[in-house]
């Protein structure tokens, strides 16, 4: 098992997501939430949208039921690029958004954008694989532009913080 993990660690970074990585990312995605401050703290459920990543949806569906973050329920939304969503708190982009209603509806909105594979434009947190381990990069500036605040303790363990 250990040997397997080591072997995997030596695989090219850009290789397709391994099953384990998606599970970790799903867990991380939920774990990001307590470290994020939204400009208007809501009281209802925290809504996480997942775009273009069925694996992630599946994993989230597995862990979310009953899971509360800061006392709030966490809901999962499978989102399409063609749809506008104005009640998302966070969104995971399986692929970069190339325009569309979804992108428009997110623009300027206090929605935590989590990308996969670095920090594309507009993404605030992005998963990276470092030394075979899932890590993340952060762009507090991008977050600040929409009024979000990334916790210092989160930034402290980010692989890279984009200024």
């Amino acid at each position: 098992m250990c040997a397997a993990a080591l072997a995997m660690a030596w695989l090219p970074v850009q290789a397709a997501d391994r099953v384990n990585d998606v599970a970790v990312k799903a867990a991380y995605l939920v774990r990001f939430l307590p470290f994020v401050e939204w400009p208007v703290p809501g009281t209802g459920p925290l809504v996480i949208g997942v775009f273009a990543h069925e694996d992630m949806v599946r994993h989230l569906e597995a862990i979310l039921p009953g899971r509360r973050v800061s006392g709030r329920e966490v809901q999962l939304r499978r989102v399409q690029a063609s749809e506008a969503h104005d009640n998302l708190n966070a969104i995971f982009l399986g692929q970069p958004l190339q325009g569309g209603r979804l992108a428009d509806s997110l623009k300027g909105q206090p929605v935590l954008v989590v990308a996969d594979g670095g920090l594309p434009d507009g993404a605030m947190l992005g998963f990276v694989i470092v030394d075979g381990r899932v890590g993340f990069e952060a762009s507090p500036a991008a977050a600040a532009r929409v009024g979000l605040k990334l916790g210092a303790r989160l930034l402290a363990i980010a692989e890279r913080v984009q200024r």
Partner: protein, 622 residues
């Protein structure tokens, strides 16, 4: 002196106790202080670790959340600034070690010291790392406890305080210990003085009423009692010595007194031998011999009396006695010595009789003795006085007073002691043996009375008082026949003289008595054993027979029985003559049939009187 001073070990012991107690108290408080300090130190260390762990866990929570060991290590690396934290271990929720940090000088945790030592040198804390209520893992912090260093200073301070503390205790002890040791040492010193120097006047002053005070009191009482006993013992020894000396003096006096009459007797015998027909010289010689014999007899009587009284062998024959008659008789008896010294004697007696229960002869002896003493110890032409006065409380005082030499106060108690003589300068002849007052006092005491002495001092005269309980007069108030107690007054005088038989193996005694009676014109026969006496009586009866009890052949008792048995109806007065005057002898003699029991030596007058009284017509003609 210094070698005798006892070692002051008491003080040393007390000092040891005080120092030990003080040291123990100090050590205890030091230990308590150190324990408290240790505890405090551990507590503050724990609080510090707690705060540290809390701080670290904030940073460590995300690293666990996002599985960032490097970040965790980095976070723990901040502990480098805390060299006292030996080890920090982050454990993941699954129990695996997530990150560790070790101070560069930390001992290998694998070789952790065992036993209780880590408790004092290390402090460990396990802190739960959680985020939003989710337990992510735990943080174990171990820090060094530098207790030794921490306590080192404190111990130094405490020791620095203990030294002056003990010194202060010693100083206080020095100031205060005399309160305790002082009295004890005083008692010890006093005891030493009592023991070594035999000083019994030592007293220790008690300054408190605690146990030491009690000790001192007890000691003082003990010494006082001891002193009392010692002085009593000394007094007793002194009295014993005195009595011994008196006895020696008495023996000397006795020898002297017994010897005294012998010289004149010897002279008189010489005179008699050469007297020839010189009647006057013979008479004078005989008078001398008679007088000296009387003196000898009196001496021996006194001695026998003393012996009898001191051995408790004297028995009183007590009967109602009329005291005033007795007093008169005594005055008559004492008349010769009173007249000889040309004293005047006043007699003051109550009109009615005063009766006491007593032995008339003994009481008479007492009164005569007092009168004789008064006459002797009063210069010639003195004034004597005899008085009898009822005291009203059922008793009577018979007092004999004189205006003579008196008695010094210091001798008042001693005059009743045996062999005591106030003034040895008085001639031996008049002084006697010094037993008269002893006898008198003891005789009075035997009569339930008291003989007391009053004298205002030397030259002030004396008054002896016989205090006796009185009794009611007997129904037939006949005075005891004192004037002639031994006389059988049944026959009148006879012209031919009495027929007298004398039987005694002491030929001198028998012949002399016989001569005396013959001189009084009695018919006297003298024999020297019982059988001859019996034969003589068979040949010719007698009016009176003086029979020696201890004769060879037929002794007096057997002879008397034979006489009484042989002729129970023929009148004869049997007089037993013995050297023993004991009560038991008296009884045996009377049972044998004797009429009278005379103890040798008796006065010749007595025999003459008896023979004279038996003269009479009742006796058969010669």
């Amino acid at each position: 002196v210094s070698s005798r001073t006892p070692p002051r070990s008491l003080r040393r012991k007390l000092l040891m106790i005080v120092m030990a107690a003080t040291g123990a108290a100090m050590a205890t408080s030091m230990a308590a202080l150190l324990a408290h300090e240790t505890w405090q130190y551990r507590q503050s260390g724990l609080r510090d670790l707690q705060a540290q762990a809390e701080l670290l866990s904030k940073s460590l929570a995300p690293t666990l959340l996002f599985n960032d060991r490097k970040a965790a290590r980095d976070t723990l690396a901040t502990l480098t600034a805390r060299p006292d934290i030996l080890e920090a271990v982050v454990m993941a929720a699954d129990g695996g070690t997530f990150a560790t940090h070790r101070a560069h000088d930390a001992p290998d945790s694998g070789e952790a010291t065992t036993g209780w030592l880590p408790l004092l040198t290390e402090l460990s804390l396990t802190y739960r790392i959680s985020e939003s209520g989710e337990t992510l893992g735990q943080l174990q912090l171990t820090r060094r406890l530098d207790l030794a260093q921490r306590l080192q200073g404190l111990v130094a301070i405490l020791i620095a305080a203990a030294v002056p503390g003990l010194a202060l205790a010693a100083l206080i002890f020095r100031r205060l210990h005399p309160k305790v040791t002082g009295p004890v040492l005083a008692v010890a010193e006093a005891a030493r003085q009592v023991k070594d120097e035999r000083r019994y006047d030592i007293r220790v002053t008690a300054t408190s009423d605690d146990e030491i005070g009690q000790l001192i009191d007890a000691f003082n009482r003990m010494v006082r009692d001891l002193a009392l006993e010692m002085s009593e013992r000394r007094g007793a020894e002194e009295a014993l010595r005195l009595a011994d000396r008196r006895k020696d003096e008495f023996l000397a006096t006795l020898a002297h007194e017994l010897r005294n009459p012998l010289a004149p007797i010897a002279t008189a015998v010489e005179l008699l031998q050469r007297a020839g027909d010189d009647e006057a010289r013979r008479t004078r010689s005989i008078d001398i011999i008679r007088r000296q014999l009387k003196q000898l007899v009196r001496l021996v009587d006194d001695l026998l009396e003393v012996s009898r009284i001191t051995r408790g062998k004297l028995e009183l024959r007590r009967e109602p006695v009329e005291l005033t008659a007795l007093a008169r008789t005594a005055c008559e008896a004492a008349q010769p010595v009173v007249e000889q010294r040309r004293h005047s004697l006043d007699i003051d007696l109550p009109a009615e009789g005063v009766w006491v229960q007593g032995d008339a002869a003994r009481l008479l002896q007492v009164i005569v003795n007092l009168l004789t003493n008064a006459a002797k110890y009063t210069p010639p032409q003195g004034r004597l006085r005899l008085s009898v006065k009822a005291t009203g409380d059922g008793a009577v005082d018979l007092a004999v007073e004189d205006n003579g030499v008196g008695i010094a106060p210091e001798h008042r108690e001693q005059v009743f002691d045996m062999f005591f003589q106030v003034d040895h300068s008085l001639g031996r002849g008049s002084a006697g043996l010094g037993v008269g007052l002893t006898i008198a006092s003891q005789l009075v005491a035997m009569h339930d009375g008291r003989l007391s002495l009053h004298s205002d001092g030397l030259g002030q005269g004396s008054r002896f008082t016989v205090h006796l309980p009185t009794v009611a007069p007997p129904a037939a108030a006949a005075p005891a026949a004192l004037a002639a107690p031994d006389v059988r007054d049944e026959s009148g005088p006879r012209p031919g003289g009495a027929k007298v038989l004398i039987a005694d193996d002491n030929t001198d005694f028998a012949d002399s008595l016989g001569a005396l009676l013959r001189a009084d014109r009695h018919q006297v026969r003298v024999v020297h054993n019982g059988l001859d006496a019996w034969g003589a009586l068979q040949r010719d009866w007698a009016d009176v027979a003086f029979l020696d009890v201890g004769m060879p052949g037929l002794d007096g008792l057997q002879l008397a029985r034979r006489i009484r048995a042989g002729a129970p109806s023929r009148p004869i007065t049997l007089v037993a003559v013995t050297g023993w005057g004991q009560a038991s002898d008296h009884q045996r003699v009377m049972e044998a049939g004797f009429d009278q029991h005379w103890v040798k030596p008796f006065e010749p007058e007595r025999a003459l009187r008896l023979a004279a009284d038996l003269r009479g017509p009742a006796a058969p003609p010669a």
